[in-house]
């Protein structure tokens, strides 16, 4: 099938392009061969399926890329972007390895394990472990007025005023967002993030 037959003006193309389906297929196959010779390290990294907490660690990082923190008028902001964990740590090494050498908004990401919510003042993102379920009300009260993105996988977290709650759908990690809580803390969540949420709550915490 001649390519020229498709052009009504009979004008010869100046581009030396493949003029048949076989040509296009040939180019695709050549690219696949090039791929076989290229660096396969990234491919190897993906052959083992990530664990639930490795996925959650990656999501914590990605939340940071779709949220805007208010510019502070008080003390100067920390030089690092702190992602903190309070309560029983289910991440283990996954959090450190996933977030090693990453940056958000030009700042190096630093992982901190903290004991109480009072230590979270310099945190941008705080993951509250399900072990803290009974202290949630107090934790959120301490954080009231600060611009910390609260994330957890404990049940009813977003209904109780937490900002982002991890939800497992089958073997896929999804999330629910309480937009009212986030906006109350002065955080701006990108619509690109909201469109992926399983549910977006617009009411502040209802009941405890």
């Amino acid at each position: 099938m001649k390519r020229e037959a498709h052009r009504s003006d009979g004008f010869q193309s100046a581009c030396p392009a493949p003029n048949s389906r076989l040509g296009l297929l040939g180019v695709l196959m050549a690219l696949m061969a090039a791929f076989a010779l290229s660096d396969v390290a990234s491919l190897q990294a993906q052959t083992s399926k990530p664990t639930e907490y490795e996925v959650k660690a990656a999501y914590l990082y990605n939340f940071g890329r779709f949220v805007e923190w208010p510019s502070r008028t008080g003390p100067p902001p920390a030089n690092s972007f702190n992602i903190c964990v309070v309560g029983q740590d289910h991440f283990g090494a996954a959090l450190n390895t996933t977030l090693a050498d990453e940056t958000i908004a030009g700042k190096s990401v630093v992982v901190k394990r903290i004991q109480t919510a009072q230590d979270a003042t310099n945190c941008r993102i705080l993951f509250i472990s399900a072990s803290e379920e009974n202290q949630l009300k107090q934790i959120l009260a301490v954080l009231n007025g600060s611009s910390v993105l609260t994330v957890s996988d404990m049940p009813q977290f977003s209904r109780r005023g937490g900002m982002v709650q991890f939800i497992l759908e089958g073997n896929r990690v999804r999330f629910e967002i309480n937009l009212a809580s986030a906006e109350h803390a002065g955080l701006t969540l990108s619509s690109e993030l909201l469109k992926l949420a399983v549910n977006v709550r617009k009411n502040p915490a209802s009941g405890d």
Partner: protein, 153 residues
């Protein structure tokens, strides 16, 4: 018929003028058509590259949070154009992530290598735009965007 050689001088001059004017006209027309077609082609490539970029950037969060359904919704907006044969989103590792195919014409697409360059081929009266999806300085995926031209472009 009288041979040109036997024309009177005024008539010869007239013919020469017509010849030269005609040649100039043909040359100018050819130049205009060539330029028009080339810039038209460049416009098409540019428009399709922009389209691929829009599709790609709307799929960034879906890629980062592993939500192929959301990426599929983004791609299905391409239904509006009958020329678009399909589009595919690939992960940063080159694996298929989401695809849109008009009338299921193409079956399964092979995994494409994670090349950094944008490539476009003319093949079988169509064009394929392959573009990396970049977010905050890092590549998060690739858009594969074949378009078929139906009739005049």
């Amino acid at each position: 018929m009288q041979r040109v050689r036997d024309y009177s001088i005024p008539k010869k001059l007239t013919w020469m003028n017509m010849l030269v004017s005609g040649a100039a006209l043909v040359l100018a027309s050819t130049a205009f058509v060539t330029y028009g077609l080339m810039s038209h082609r460049e416009t098409i490539i540019r428009n399709l590259t922009i389209q691929a970029q829009i599709v790609g950037s709307n799929s960034i969060s879906a890629l980062l949070f592993n939500d192929p359904v959301s990426a599929q919704k983004t791609l299905s907006a391409l239904q509006a154009s009958t020329n678009i044969v399909g589009a595919g989103i690939y992960t940063s590792g080159g694996q298929p992530f989401a695809a849109y195919e008009r009338n299921g014409q193409h079956g399964s697409r092979p995994p494409i290598p994670p090349v950094r360059t944008q490539v476009h081929w003319w093949g079988d009266a169509g064009i394929v735009v392959v573009r990396p999806i970049v977010f905050q300085g890092g590549k998060v995926g690739t858009v594969f965007h074949p378009v078929r031209f139906t009739g005049n472009v």
